[in-house]
């Protein structure tokens, strides 16, 4: 298990080298995206002004304070708190995010499913797990909120962040069809049968 620092945007090769259990720190840029953002992009055909090719997205809708645009808040928003939401609700958007927009990295919590795992394998992408509920800490990893698109969906806008050092994040799904969530669920299923048996419950 190795640790990597990857600057965004990144190449396919830099993603293919990652294996589950590795850790990653991102530098450069990160885009915040969420349910409504992706429903509008992929179900309603909206296009973003951002070039997401080779970029990372994080499943988030941040707390922000509206301010007059200034040097350190060019988008007119000051960061209050940036965290991460449960990824699985957005499972069906992984494939179009990668094929249409060129996204290489998805950051979230709780994991994604089989369709995403296949997309990571076929197109070249990874899922990096962040620790859910640790937004105060994550916020300290971000330098600035530099731009925003589709802001009529606020707080589910498409946000662009400039990073300090964002991580460490855990490679929980890689481009080689491996998923830590699948491994855990498979062994949990065995444990479930034992737990039910101990309680005298026939399955």
């Amino acid at each position: 298990m190795a640790h990597y620092t990857i600057e965004m945007p990144c190449s396919e090769a830099s993603i293919r080298q990652l294996k589950i259990g590795d850790t990653v720190t991102l530098t450069g840029w990160l885009h915040g995206i969420r349910d409504a953002t992706q429903i509008h992009m992929f179900d309603k055909g909206r296009q973003t002004k951002f070039d997401l090719n080779g970029h990372a997205v994080i499943h988030t809708a941040p707390n922000v304070r509206k301010v007059e645009p200034r040097d350190d808040c060019p988008a007119g928003y000051e960061i209050v708190c940036v965290g991460t939401t449960t990824s699985m609700r957005m499972e069906r958007f992984t494939s179009p995010l990668m094929s249409r927009e060129g996204v290489r990295i998805i950051i979230g919590k709780g994991g994604l499913g089989e369709e995403s795992r296949n997309a990571f394998n076929c197109i070249g992408g990874v899922y990096l797990a962040i620790v859910g509920g640790t937004a105060a800490l994550e916020t300290t990893w971000i330098d600035q909120l530099t731009d925003v698109d589709m802001d009529d969906l606020n707080p589910e806008s498409l946000w662009k962040f400039k990073l300090k050092e964002f991580g460490p994040l855990l490679v929980a799904m890689d481009s080689h069809c491996q998923s830590m969530y699948d491994e855990v669920q498979a062994s949990a299923e065995q444990n479930r049968l034992k737990a039910l048996e101990r309680m005298g419950i026939s399955v």
């Binding site: 409504a36 988030t60 809708a61 941040p62 707390n63 922000v64 304070r65 509206k66 209050v80 708190c81 940036v82 965290g83 991460t84 939401t85 449960t86 699985m88 609700r89 919590k109 709780g110 994991g111 797990a129 620790v131 859910g132 509920g133 640790t134 937004a135 105060a136 800490l137 916020t139 300290t140 606020n154 707080p155 855990l170 929980a172 830590m180 969530y181 491994e183 855990v184 669920q185 062994s187 949990a188 299923e189 444990n191 479930r192 034992k194 737990a195 039910l196 101990r198 309680m199 005298g200 419950i201």
Partner: protein, 291 residues
């Protein structure tokens, strides 16, 4: 005791922000217990990050989690309390809106069909305000829970039948914790409601999930079920964030209610690791904040 509605409004605002920033002591202790027990290396790292986050939130006066949740206010009114019930609810709504606009907080609440966000953390029937009564003189309590969506989406109800027995109830809980996996942000407090009507069953499951860690169901049968299910859930190996280990849940909490001879309902409501809540107690000597 006459209740000052301005003080209620102020408390409704303060409680929302306070709940989002300061984790109750019992939950911090719950983390310490898990940290000592966890053997799984990924689980250890995740728990350490969660503990670090609690300190960072307090040091930077920031929110623990970005999810401001659906605001829930549970009011308990004691004996001899003079308050206009309608005005009380309006004051709470105003306080909740002020917290959202003045802090500011992300309004996480939308109309269910149009998905329009009023940016007040409120809307039709939200904040959720429940009123109950107690025997204590000159006391009014407001318990505030900002219920995060990741764990609230891990809510389940099954109208089991008497022939399913208590084993049907236990199996449902285990199966739903399995299904929820890492999506509900473990380690969690698994709230279980047993009995009642469908709505009461769901309501007591949420009360169970919102109870302080270390508390025990005051129905001996419910307490027995809590112990058995806590052991079973933490033997599953789902672990913190669904990435393995024994830290699937801080605890399973059970609440019970009498039910119909033909019914055997069970509900599961899960509280994420950011198990946030805050409490204000109004007495003749003023308002006191706690958990």
């Amino acid at each position: 005791m006459k209740v000052d509605l301005n003080a209620i409004e102020e408390a409704a605002k303060t409680l929302y922000i306070r709940a989002l920033k300061i984790l109750p002591d019992d939950v911090k202790s719950g983390f310490n217990t898990l940290v000592k027990q966890e053997q799984h290396p990924t689980g250890q790292r995740i728990l350490a990050t969660m503990v670090e986050n609690i300190s960072v939130a307090e040091e930077t006066n920031n929110l623990l989690c970005q999810d401001t949740g659906i605001p829930i206010y549970n009011i308990t009114i004691g004996r001899g309390v003079d308050v206009d019930g309608y005005e009380l609810k309006e004051a709470i709504r105003r306080g909740c809106t002020r917290a959202t606009k003045e802090h500011p907080l992300r309004s996480s609440v939308v109309h269910p069909i149009t998905r329009i966000n009023e940016h007040t953390s409120g809307g039709r029937r939200v904040p959720v305000i429940s009123v109950d009564f107690c025997d204590e003189p000159e006391l009014l309590i407001i318990d505030m829970v900002p219920k995060g969506s990741g764990s609230e989406n891990g809510s389940f109800l099954k109208m089991c039948i008497p022939a399913d027995g208590i084993n049907g109830v236990k199996k449902f809980v285990i199966d739903k914790v399995m299904e929820a996996g890492g999506k509900v942000c473990p380690p969690t407090i698994v709230g279980v409601g047993v009995g009642g009507t469908s709505d009461l069953c769901t309501k007591i499951a949420k009360l169970a999930a919102s109870r302080p860690l270390g508390s025990v169901c005051d129905d001996a049968e419910g307490a027995k079920l809590e112990r058995e299910l806590s052991e079973a859930v933490n033997s599953l190996g789902i672990g913190a964030q669904g990435l393995g280990g024994n830290s699937t849940a801080f605890a399973v909490h059970v609440e019970t209610a009498a039910t119909h001879i033909t019914m055997n309902p069970v509900a599961v409501n899960i509280m994420c690791n950011s198990a946030r809540r805050a409490q204000a107690r109004f007495t003749p000597s003023g308002v006191e904040y706690g958990f």
